[in-house]
Symmetry: C2
Subunit: 374 residues, 2 copies
């Protein structure tokens, strides 16, 4: 199923937020516009604001509107389940495949913003009002599923949705990074169990991406080589490879921060989801499902999954195409569990100084993730 074999239906919720249905073209056609949102919602999300920390050179987003967001709602009030006659959720249709909507309680809102035009104040107090967008990606209408339990056709549809949203959000003015991620598990603060991920379109470069861009540029200037290519080649030759197929490979990185952490790369570097070719797309579901299922088996099947999946994509529109930073699309998947009954906490060294202390040697983590294969 190539990317284009998808039906995309754009609708709007009662407060004006976009809701987009993605359906596999292979299935029966359904009219997704037949179910308007009739809730009395009031107006849409307030823009937050981003503030610059001059000591660390990083933006922090302040979003005072989010304290009232749902906190562990039960399945009878799940905002991501399809609507019924008696219970109206964020998704008016009675069923769906993949649905994407603008977050009702966003950290970032206001959409596009001409770059830097609302910076106010001299150092040390730079402020940016609004800008950016937060979307929720519902992977399935089955409240009790997990990403790892989905079939390959559904994963291909999710990939099509990620691709579509990356293209659309990258095109908004002033967006400097499109970040696709999934938080899975109550242990990492997930407040809604329904399987879903998120997309943040940032009006600034996040601290990590900023570092990656900077170090990649230094490496290129010094060696003439792309840093991601050098890292991938070295990792594939290491003993830390977890899984590989013809198009994708996953490994535990040399300097892993988390007890169990794996990075999944397409073998041929692409900047973002929109640049994947058909062969890479076709081989993606098996690779990603394999990796997530290994994480699920690490501590025994009876434990609920607990991981973060973070997709790195090259910043859009940073100069002409030839000068775009050579950041490679890849996923970093990691779990905060270090044993069945023990969590990795981010305490004084990590939260206070950004210095990670990892108790599981990456070579041991790779061995355990390899052993957790089907």
């Amino acid at each position: 199923m190539p990317c284009q074999a998808v039906r995309k239906t754009v609708t709007h919720l009662a407060d004006g937020r976009e809701l987009i249905y993605f359906d596999a073209a292979a299935g029966p056609a359904k009219d997704r516009t037949a179910y308007p949102d009739t809730r009395p919602l009031g107006k849409g999300p307030e823009p937050g604001e981003s503030r610059f920390d001059p000591l660390l050179g990083e933006w922090v987003t302040v979003a005072g509107n989010r304290q009232e967001r749902p906190y562990h709602p039960g399945p009878d009030v799940c905002p991501l389940c399809p609507s019924t006659q008696t219970r109206r959720s964020e998704i008016p249709a009675p069923d769906y495949e993949v649905a994407v909507f603008e977050n009702r309680f966003p950290s970032l809102a206001g959409g596009g913003l001409a770059a830097h035009d609302s910076l106010t104040g001299p150092l040390p107090h730079r402020l940016r009002s609004g800008g950016g967008r937060c979307e929720v990606v519902c992977f399935t209408d089955d409240h009790d599923a997990t990403f790892a339990s989905l079939d390959e056709a559904r994963v291909l549809l999710i990939l099509a949705a990620w691709t579509d949203r990356t293209a659309a959000l990258s095109a908004l003015p002033g967006i400097e990074q499109v970040y696709v991620f999934e938080n899975c598990g109550a242990e990492i603060g997930v407040t809604i169990n329904h399987p879903h991920g998120q997309i943040y379109a940032f009006p600034y470069l996040t601290p990590k991406m900023s570092s990656v861009v900077e170090h990649g540029a230094h490496y290129l200037a010094r060696t003439g080589e792309n840093l991601h290519d050098a890292v991938l080649a070295a990792e594939l030759a290491s003993g830390r490879v977890v899984f590989e197929n013809a198009e994708w490979a996953a490994f535990v990185p040399f300097a892993a921060r988390w007890p169990y952490e794996a990075h999944l790369y397409p073998r041929r570097r692409v900047p973002d989801f929109t640049a994947l070719d058909d062969a890479q797309r076709a081989a993606f579901p098996a690779a990603y499902l394999d990796l997530l299922r290994r994480f699920g088996r690490l501590f025994g099947a009876d434990l609920p999954p607990a991981y973060i999946a973070a997709w790195h994509q090259a910043p859009p529109g940073a100069g002409p195409p030839g000068e775009r930073p050579g950041v490679a699309l890849h996923a970093e998947v990691f779990t905060l569990r270090r044993a069945p009954d023990k969590l990795k906490y981010l305490a004084g060294t990590e939260s206070g100084m950004g210095a990670f202390m990892n108790d599981i040697p990456p070579e041991v983590a790779a061995e355990r993730l390899r052993a957790a294969g089907a």
Copy 2:
């Protein structure tokens, strides 16, 4: 009580680790060497190793020896309580005031290391074996106390211990940062309830300190001013001051990352604990206790405290004194609680991209911390 009015007794534990008693000179003299450690401990800590992440340009420490460390030991097996006839802890004496010892399960070990002499491997795989030191600082022999419950004389003694250790650890070869911190509360992963803090002597600059040094240097080159001085002046003129006395001031920073976060600075900039003068020392206990007690009262006195206190100190020995980075000694104190029953989790945006989303506007946090005064 000036810094020197302290009795310091250096002893060694059965496996060779140092144990140092700090007693107020005002009290009755006690012979701390009268209680040798008779436990059959075997040899001391194994050095871990530090690995360089070329994409982020950061060191990560791998310490595979730490998985077996005590996990929530009960009071009858607390390793930080004084020893008794029937129960031998890390501290052989039957009582103590402040005691500092080398961590038995350290992330960093091996002590000093000639700078950079054990870097091996080309990019992307740089490895540093060993180096550094982790110390535990026991604030009191009372298992059920908290830092905020201590009296001013004890806080002055703790300050003397921090000062002594900063001087000693800074003098080890190859140490690039001495980091004093306290993790308080089970919610942030504290596994031993006995009131204690830690000191990490890093053989590398931590990511945050590295950023602060870099941005401070840029600011100095551009404006001729010290960045910390500029930030402190701006913050003291803001509406976010929480507390001030003649020598110290605490404020919620403009770009706070955490729900409740305050930074405590001496009004006159000093690089580290060793440079504080007598007036600053004398005024410190009231200031620090005031701040910690406000954090304790934020969510009601019946909730156990949950905070991280992170002390920033200028890196030792970075070039001649005149060229030492202009980093200001200060504490950053923050809590992961955003409401009595809700925690701030570091999920996809923070853990995946280092981008902080703060739900509590810093001005609101400052108001609540002011209202939490005695």
